[in-house]
C-alpha cells in the first residue's frame, strides 16, 4: 500500500462512522521501490491529496521529515517535489494495520494488500 492509496481510503462504510479518515497506520514492514519521477504527476496529484493526512502518514513511515507543513505551490523547487514523490509512491507498507479513527476497527495489511472487508453486521 502506497501512501497515495492510503490517502484515498476511509472506513466510513462502517455503520455509524462519520468520516473514517484518515486511517491510522501501524507499520510492521515497508518496502521501497524506485519509480520514475515526474513533476507533472506530483503537481496533478497535489489537489487530490488531503495534505495533513499525507503528512501524518509519511511521518508514521519515517519519510516525512523533508515535507513542508502545507501543500507546496507551483513554484516549489524540485527537491521538495522529489521528497513528496518518494513518500507518495515509492514507499509501501507491506505488513501492518490500518485503524479506523472513530471505532478502532483494525484492517490488516498483508503482502501490501489492505483487507477492507467488513462483516455483514458492520455495514
Amino acid at each position: 500500500m502506497k501512501l497515495l492509496t492510503h490517502n484515498m481510503l476511509t472506513s466510513k462504510a462502517i455503520k455509524g462512522v462519520q468520516t473514517g479518515f484518515p486511517l491510522n497506520i501501524v507499520v510492521k514492514k515497508t518496502k521501497t521501490v524506485e519509480t520514475e519521477f515526474s513533476s507533472e504527476f506530483i503537481q496533478r496529484m497535489l489537489p487530490k491529496l488531503d495534505w495533513p493526512a499525507f503528512l501524518k502518514a509519511a511521518q508514521t513511515l519515517g519519510v516525512g521529515s523533508q515535507l513542508p507543513d502545507s501543500p507546496p505551490t507551483e513554484t516549489t523547487d524540485e527537491t521538495v517535489l522529489r521528497s513528496i514523490h518518494h513518500a507518495l509512491v515509492e514507499v509501501e507498507v507491506i505488513e501492518g494495520e490500518l485503524i479506523c479513527p472513530e471505532t478502532e476497527r483494525k484492517f490488516p495489511i498483508s503482502n501490501g494488500i489492505p483487507n477492507m472487508l467488513l462483516n455483514e453486521d458492520e455495514i
Binding site: M1, K2, L4, T5, M8, L9, T10, S11, K12, A13, F21, V33, E36, S38, E40, F41, R44, M45, K48, D50, V89, N111, G112, I113, P114, N115, M116, L117, L118, E120, I123
Partner: protein, 598 residues
C-alpha cells in the same frame, strides 16, 4: 332571455339536472339557461345503449344541417353539437321529454342547453406497439364469405363454448388450462384448411412473415356482438415469434397494454394483423366486452357504432421445444421469476460468487489475459495523470495500459487470490466489497467496473453498487460499467456463442442454497444463448472434475441504463453492446450526489 329559454329552464327535469351535474363534474361545463349550440341529452349515453346513428335518427329532419353527436364511454348522457342556436332550439323542442329514442324502450329523454362544448372522447392511438402491423383489406369480401364457411363450431371435441364466444381449432387443439397445446397430440384429421394455407404462403412470399414461423395451429373465435377477451399474451414458450390474426365480420377495437402504456387499436373487418417482436412478446392484448366501439368519423366526434358478430382466425406456429429466447422477460414464461431478500442475496453471492472466485482464482487468472479493446479505449481517453479505481480488478489486466504509465490505478476485488496476482505485478490492490467501498468520495477521475455488477443478485443491490461507484467520482469524472448481456447475438454476434442449441441451455437446473431460501436456477451451457436472466455458470477446472457454479444476472437491453435513470447529477455518455456485454459510460456532472444509504 327569450320566453322559450325561460320556459325550458323552469321546466328542467330532475334527471336533466342530475345529468348536468355529472357532466359538470366530468368536464367543468354547466347547464345554461340561455340558448347555445350545445345540447345535453340525459339518459341517452353509451351506458344506456346510445349510438351515434340512433341519436342522429331522432334529431329533427333538416337538409343541410350537420349535427355532431359526442358520446363518452361509461356515461349516461350524450351531447349534440348543433350548427346554430336555432337548430339547437329545435332539438330541445323535439326531444325534451320525448320517447322517440328507439333504444330507450319508451323511456323519456331530457334535453337542455350547455354553456359550452365538451371534448371528444379519446380515440384509437395513432401509434402502434412496435412490431405490430395491420394490413387493411387483407382479405377480399369473397374470401371472407368463403372463410366464414370453413367453421361449423359443431365438433364438441375440438370446439367448446367459452363465455360469449365459440371456438374451433385446427392443427393442434388449444388447451385453455395450459394456454398452449399438447405437442404430442396434433389434430391429424383436421389440418389448417387449404384456403388459409394458401393465404399464409402469400404472406411469406410477400416477405411479411418469416418462413420459420409458418403456422401449424389455427384457432377460430366467433365473438357474439359485444363479447370480449381478457388481456393476454400468447404463451412465449409455446408459440413462435410471429402471430397472424385475420378479422372477419365486423370491426373491433383491441387494447394493447405494456406497463402503464395502453393503446387502443382499431382492427378493421377483413384486415390482417401481424404481431411480431415487442408487440408479440411484451404487450398484452384484450377486447373490452361492450356493445359499441368508438371509431374515427373523418370529421367531428368519433362515431359510436354497435359491435357486430366478429370471427377471428389466429394462426400460430407451435415451437418444437419449450424454450423462448426473446429479449422481453416481463411476460416470458421461459424466464424464471427470481427474487431474494437482501440477506439471502448476500448469502447466495457469498457461496456462489465470492467463494467460487477464491477457489478458482489462479486458474481463472490464467484464462484472463487479453484486454478488451473498448476498455482500453476508455482508459486511453482519460486526461493525463488521472487517478482511476478498478472495482473488481481481478488479476489486474486492466491496470496495465500500454503507453499510459501516467495513469494511477487502485484496484480492488473480493478475491484475495486474484489480489495476490495483482501484487506480483506491483499493482496497488486492496480487498473490499463493491457494496462497501472504502474510498473517499468525489476525488477520482475515473472508475471502471468490468464484469462485476452481474454477480449481484437483486436489482436493488445492482443499483446500490452503481451509486457507490458514482460517489467516488469528482465532477466531470467518468464511469465505465460492463456487464454480461442476455442477448449474445447483437451486431454481428459474439465470440462467445459457438452455435450451441439454445434449447439445451434449459435442460439442466440446479438447486442451491441462498441463506434461508433454496432457489432453483438453470445451469448455463457454455457457448449457448442464455435461457434466463438469472443463471448459474459452471466453472470446470481441467485437472479434476470439480465444478463450481457461479451466479450471474445477465442484463437485458436498456436494463443498465434503467438502473441509473433517476439518479440526478449524471449524464449518459454512451451505451453499447460489446462482444456480448452491455456497457455504459456515465459522467458525473456535479461534485456530490445525494449521499448513498447503505
Amino acid at each position: 332571455m327569450s320566453d322559450h329559454a325561460k320556459r325550458s329552464s323552469k321546466k328542467r327535469h330532475k334527471k336533466l339536472i342530475k345529468a348536468g351535474k355529472s357532466l359538470e363534474n366530468d368536464f367543468g361545463v354547466k347547464l345554461s339557461a340561455a340558448p347555445t349550440k350545445f345540447v345535453l341529452l340525459s339518459n341517452a349515453g353509451l351506458v344506456n345503449g346510445g349510438l351515434t346513428s340512433s341519436i342522429l335518427r331522432a334529431l329533427p329532419e333538416s337538409d343541410n344541417l350537420h349535427y355532431d353527436v359526442v358520446l363518452h364511454p361509461d356515461k349516461t348522457y350524450a351531447v349534440v353539437r348543433c350548427p346554430n342556436i336555432e337548430a339547437a332550439s329545435a332539438v330541445i323542442e323535439n326531444l325534451d321529454g320525448s320517447s322517440s329514442l328507439d333504444y330507450l324502450d319508451g323511456q323519456p329523454v331530457h334535453a337542455g342547453y350547455l354553456e359550452g362544448d365538451i371534448p371528444d372522447p379519446d380515440l384509437q392511438s395513432s401509434s402502434l406497439p412496435s412490431g405490430l402491423e395491420i394490413i387493411e383489406n387483407g382479405l377480399s369480401p369473397e374470401d371472407e364469405a368463403a372463410w366464414l364457411k370453413l367453421c361449423s363450431f359443431d365438433d364438441d371435441s375440438a370446439s367448446c363454448l367459452l363465455k360469449n364466444r365459440l371456438v374451433e381449432h385446427f392443427g393442434y387443439r388449444f388447451d385453455y388450462a395450459i394456454n398452449g397445446v399438447n405437442r404430442d397430440d396434433p389434430l391429424l384429421e383436421k389440418p389448417i384448411p387449404e384456403p388459409c394455407t394458401k393465404f399464409l404462403k402469400g404472406l411469406v412470399h410477400r416477405g411479411l412473415m418469416p418462413e420459420s414461423c409458418f403456422p401449424n395451429q389455427l384457432t377460430v373465435n366467433r365473438y357474439e356482438a359485444g363479447a370480449g377477451i381478457p388481456a393476454h399474451c400468447d404463451t412465449h414458450s409455446m408459440f413462435s415469434s410471429c402471430i397472424v390474426v385475420v378479422s372477419l365480420g365486423a370491426d373491433v377495437v383491441v387494447n394493447y397494454r405494456k406497463d402503464d402504456t395502453e393503446l387502443s387499436v382499431l382492427i378493421p373487418r377483413r384486415s390482417v394483423t401481424l404481431m411480431q417482436d415487442e408487440s408479440r412478446y411484451a404487450w398484452t392484448h384484450s377486447i373490452i366486452p361492450r356493445k359499441y366501439d368508438l371509431i374515427p368519423s373523418g370529421s367531428g366526434a368519433p362515431l359510436a357504432v354497435a359491435r357486430g358478430v366478429r370471427t377471428s382466425f389466429t394462426f400460430r406456429r407451435v415451437r418444437s421445444q419449450e424454450a423462448c429466447d426473446c429479449s422481453f422477460p416481463s411476460l416470458c414464461d421461459s424466464r424464471l421469476k427470481f427474487s431474494l431478500d437482501e440477506s439471502d442475496a448476500a448469502q447466495l453471492e457469498k457461496l456462489h460468487v465470492h467463494e467460487v472466485y477464491e477457489n478458482i482464482a489462479s486458474h481463472f487468472s490464467d484464462t484472463r489475459h487479453s484486454q478488451w479493446p473498448k476498455v482500453v479505449e476508455f482508459l486511453n481517453s482519460l486526461p493525463d495523470c488521472s487517478l482511476v479505481v478498478d472495482v473488481g480488478c481481478g488479476n489486474g489486466k486492466n491496470m496495465l495500459i500500454k503507453n499510459r504509465e501516467d495513469l494511477s490505478f487502485i484496484g480492488c476485488d473480493r478475491s484475495s487470490g486474484l489480489l495476490e496476482i495483482c501484487r506480483r505485478k506491483n499493482l496497488q490492490a486492496l480487498q473490499c466489497d463493491c457494496l462497501a467501498l472504502p474510498f473517499r468520495h468525489a476525488v477520482f477521475d475515473a472508475v471502471i467496473c468490468i464484469a462485476v455488477i452481474h454477480h449481484l443478485s437483486t436489482s436493488l443491490r445492482r443499483r446500490q453498487a452503481i451509486e457507490q461507484l458514482l460517489s467516488l467520482l469528482k465532477k466531470d469524472g467518468k464511469l465505465l460499467i460492463s456487464v454480461w448481456a442476455f442477448d449474445q447475438n447483437l451486431r454481428g454476434g459474439s465470440k462467445y456463442l459457438k452455435g450451441g442449441d439454445p434449447s439445451t441451455a434449459t435442460a439442466r437446473h440446479a438447486c442451491i442454497r441462498a441463506g434461508k431460501a433454496e432457489v432453483t436456477l438453470p445451469v448455463h451451457t457454455n457457448r449457448c444463448a442464455f435461457s434466463n436472466s438469472d443463471v448459474l455458470v459452471p466453472w470446470k477446472k481441467s485437472e479434476n472434475n470439480d465444478t463450481q457454479q457461479r451466479y450471474y444476472h445477465v442484463f437485458d437491453k436498456g436494463e443498465l441504463r434503467s438502473l441509473v435513470q433517476d439518479i440526478e447529477g449524471i449524464e449518459l455518455l454512451d451505451e453499447y453492446h460489446d462482444e456480448g456485454n452491455w456497457c455504459i459510460i456515465l459522467k458525473k456532472t456535479q461534485q456530490v450526489l445525494n449521499e448513498v444509504e447503505t
